[in-house]
């Protein structure tokens, strides 16, 4: 026994080297029965903490990517929502208008404003449709709030519109509540007013002024404006009635021409 132990002591390094190499070779030839549990144990001890860190980091990066993509989607959807809201509002306006048109047997033709004429407040417009588009003189021009004016001149591919602010553009009108009749005029100094309304009539501030249909230019029932002031001057036969127009002539955007159905 002594010579064996002394031999081992003298060749300690060699013995350890051979043992390590044999052990490594044993792992190779042992197959999955030994390799799997050893591999699992070593993985749990040495790899698990770093794998947790890697998973957490990957998830964080993935979340950041998802967040970026979702932000882009939110911006896209928000802009679409604004667009669709605008379309929905326009649709509602058009539906309301179509209801009126059905009743009055008119069709509506949208037009674009090419240019605006007028000092202070606009009184004439040039629109993009003309005789080629079946536009005729005296057809009524409206927007979503009420009467804007009438077609005054028609060329082949454009037309001139007189707004109600043009002194040459007058409209037969009546008070919606009491049916009192008059003529809507516009004066640069005085503004819009209802003329030729006898002082015996029933007119009060806040009354809605609509077209009467007389004169056969403007269809009956279109809103013109609201009465803001009523005075009865002495020795005069007619009221002095100021009207606030329903249409904002300084902010005209969408205009339509009413064409009588054939």
């Amino acid at each position: 026994m002594d010579w064996r132990s002394s031999w081992l002591r003298e060749r300690k390094t060699l013995v350890h080297t051979v043992a390590a190499i044999v052990l490594a070779a044993a792992f190779i030839v042992s197959g999955q029965r030994i390799a799997s549990p050893v591999g699992n144990f070593v993985t749990t001890v040495f790899y698990y903490p770093f794998q947790k860190i890697k998973f957490a980091t990957d998830r964080l990066l993935q979340t950041a990517d998802d967040n970026k993509a979702l932000n882009a989607t939110v911006v896209d959807l928000s802009s679409r929502l604004q667009f669709y809201n605008e379309i929905r509002a326009e649709n509602e306006r058009l539906r309301a208008m179509l209801g009126f048109i059905e009743r009055a047997e008119y069709t509506v033709v949208p037009v674009e404003i090419i240019s605006v004429v007028g000092t202070g407040i606009p009184n004439r417009l040039v629109i993009n449709l003309g005789a080629d588009d079946s536009i005729r003189v005296n057809q009524t021009v409206i927007n979503r709030n009420g009467v804007a004016g009438r077609v005054a001149e028609v060329m082949d591919d454009y037309s001139v519109v007189y707004l109600l602010t043009e002194p040459r553009c007058r409209a037969a009108a009546r008070i919606k509540r009491s049916r009192e009749q008059g003529i809507i005029r516009y004066d640069i100094g005085r503004g819009m007013y209802l003329d030729n309304c006898p002082q015996q009539g029933d007119v009060t501030v806040g009354d809605t002024v609509i077209t009467s249909g007389l004169g056969e230019i403007f269809p009956e029932g279109l809103v013109i404006g609201t009465v803001t002031n009523v005075t009865a001057p002495e020795k005069e036969f007619f009221y002095d009635i100021s009207v606030d127009p329903a249409v904002n002539f300084n902010g005209l955007d969408e205009l339509y021409i009413l064409k009588r159905k054939q």
Partner: protein, 164 residues
Amino acid sequence: MRVIPYVVYLLLISCYRTLLAGLLSIGQAQIDLAALIVLLVALNKEEMEAVWFGLAAGLVYDAPDPSRLGVHALIFAVMAVMTSQAKERLNLDSIQSRMILVLAGLVFYSIPYTLIYPTSGSSEFFRSLWSAALPSVAYSAVLAWIFFMVRSGRLSYARIRSIF
């Protein structure tokens, strides 16, 4: 207490394999960190410790894929023995001589491993050797050279700052 540094080395190997290998790779070239650590341990420690550390490092390296368990352990153990034997027979005072030994060790590690497990997507041994193994050897050798330069004091923060 003597075991703690070796445990830290093994954790460094597993950390590198899990988190850093992808980040530090250049094309198909990766740092053979496990082989480098085994070589450095064999250069600086006794043969017996180096052999057992080589075996442990190989087991840690192969643990995620148990079907290969033992291959790296065998290669690293043999590499540690060869490096320790060479260390006792050669004069390794200069950085160049140590670098030659490290390069030889890295090539010794790469060739048999590439022979057994060629890089995926390229079944030919020489193509794998040329495209992945040898660039990895060069990359690892550069890292070893930087390590030796820093350890010998030839490369330091103060020296780099003095250049600028």
